[in-house]
């Protein structure tokens, strides 16, 4: 085939595009970590939570979360006997320094840790106009802070209020399920420091994970199931008043 000037002009840009993809290569994850062999989730055992705030502090330290913003937080519920559908919920400073002592006013009192539910059909990823937030092949919802515009669509779309705009980077931020840790075979910072084992990281694709036994033998719920988000943070012993 003769290389004419016209053909050369056509071929050069095409070759340039192809070369760019070759240079991009494959992103490097930890050795032996295969994206398709995991499906991460978290199990929260509400009757075990003591509201100490260790998880909130650990999350802030591990992920450099600015003061006043929370990737995970704890809520204290007080459900009066006569007002089951209207619980009193408080979360002073996200429960970061624990909760002040309170008097037992009867009814039901308990703590509920909250975090991103890493939904399989998450509304936040669907509304992102640029594809800066996404569900990874191993089931974690992440934010690409180098690509995020900071438009706040995802902050409004999350039915669980798990997202915020980081005042330093001006981009959306949320729980990453400590992706940089689980990728290296460690557990998340919040699960690492939880003194009572109220939070457990689980891998639904690992047949040896104790979560399968737990899900078989306990009544487990997710938050706002009517939203059909495919929420993957499972709550054991959750009261019907929890929103």
């Amino acid at each position: 085939m003769d290389i004419t000037r016209r053909r050369l002009l056509v071929l050069l840009p095409a070759a340039a595009v192809a070369w760019k993809y070759v240079l991009a290569g494959t992103p490097e994850l930890s050795p032996n970590y295969k994206l398709t062999e995991h499906w991460w989730t978290m199990l929260i055992d509400i009757p075990k939570c003591i509201g100490c705030g260790s998880c909130v502090r650990a999350c802030a330290e591990e992920n450099d979360v600015p003061d006043g913003f929370y990737r995970t937080w704890i809520e204290r519920y007080h459900v009066a006997d006569w007002r089951l559908e209207r619980p009193e919920v408080e979360s002073p400073n996200g429960g970061k320094q624990g909760f002040p002592p309170n008097q037992d006013a009867g009814g039901k009192n308990f703590f509920v840790p909250k975090l991103c539910n890493h939904c399989a059909d998450s509304p936040c990823t669907q509304v992102c106009p640029v594809g800066a937030t996404f569900v990874t092949p191993d089931g974690v919802v992440l934010v690409d802070k180098n690509y995020c515009l900071g438009c706040r669509y995802c902050v409004q779309a999350c039915p669980y209020g798990c997202r915020f705009i980081n005042p330093r980077t001006k981009t959306a931020e949320k729980c990453s399920l400590c992706y940089h840790r689980i990728n290296k075979g460690l557990t998340t910072a919040c699960c690492e420091v939880c003194p009572t084992g109220a939070r457990q990281l689980a891998d639904l694709k690992n047949p040896k994970d104790p979560i399968h036994e737990f899900l078989r033998t306990h009544s487990v719920q997710v938050l706002k199931p009517h939203m059909a988000t495919g929420a993957k943070v499972f709550y054991n012993g959750m009261d019907g008043s929890v929103r």
Binding site: V10, P13, A14, A16, V17, K20, Y21, L23, A24, T26, P27, E28, L29, S30, L35, P47, K48, C49, I50, G51, C52, S54, A58, E61, E62, Q97, G98, F99, P101, N102, Q103, D104, A105, N109, F110, F111, G131, A132, F134, V135, T136, P137, L142, D144, N146, Y147, S176, Y179, H180, R181, N183, K184, L186, A189, E192, V193, C194, P195, T196, G197
Partner: protein, 157 residues
């Protein structure tokens, strides 16, 4: 034809190289997130060196608690134990975070009203945090009276 090539060239210039690798997002973002450094080393890293503390913890109910739950993030200490040392902890604040009485805590969890229980004295005056149950020389459990504690902590307040 020219429009098509113009489109190909512009698209290549604007769209990141790894976009679409796994889905409608930048595939390289996964590895970028995974590459961040860790702050908490994990209890396996602590147990590799501090075997004496591990043995102590096995004798009490704090055996299930990870070291960094109280001592804070110490991945830097695990990397370089000589130059980075853990800070000294104030047990009067630290212990109360878990054990201060609160109606929302599970009923079976050990909790005290610290003002009545110790009157603000640091918890490690009587309790050994790694093995918190107070023990006598005969290794039997003993509950000290408030008068005994006050005598023991005279001048420490």
């Amino acid at each position: 034809m020219i429009a098509l090539f113009a489109f190909v060239i512009l698209r290549a210039a604007v769209v990141p190289a790894s976009f679409g690798q796994y889905g409608h997002y930048r595939g390289a973002a996964i590895a970028e997130t995974a590459a961040r450094p860790i702050a908490f080393a994990g209890h396996d890293a602590c147990e590799a060196c501090h075997t004496d503390v591990v043995e102590q913890k096995k004798q009490g109910r704090h055996v299930v608690i990870a070291c960094e739950a109280c001592h804070g993030p110490l991945a830097k200490h695990a990397d370089d134990p000589s130059s980075v040392t853990p800070p000294k902890l104030d047990t009067a604040i630290l212990c109360a975070r878990c054990h201060e009485a609160n109606s929302a805590k599970p009923k079976g969890f050990p909790q005290v009203v610290t003002a009545d229980h110790s009157g603000g004295i640091a918890c490690d005056t009587c309790h050994q945090p790694h093995r918190p149950k107070i023990q006598t020389s005969t290794n039997e459990t003993k509950t000290e009276t408030k008068a005994e504690v006050e005598k023991k902590t005279e001048g420490k307040k």
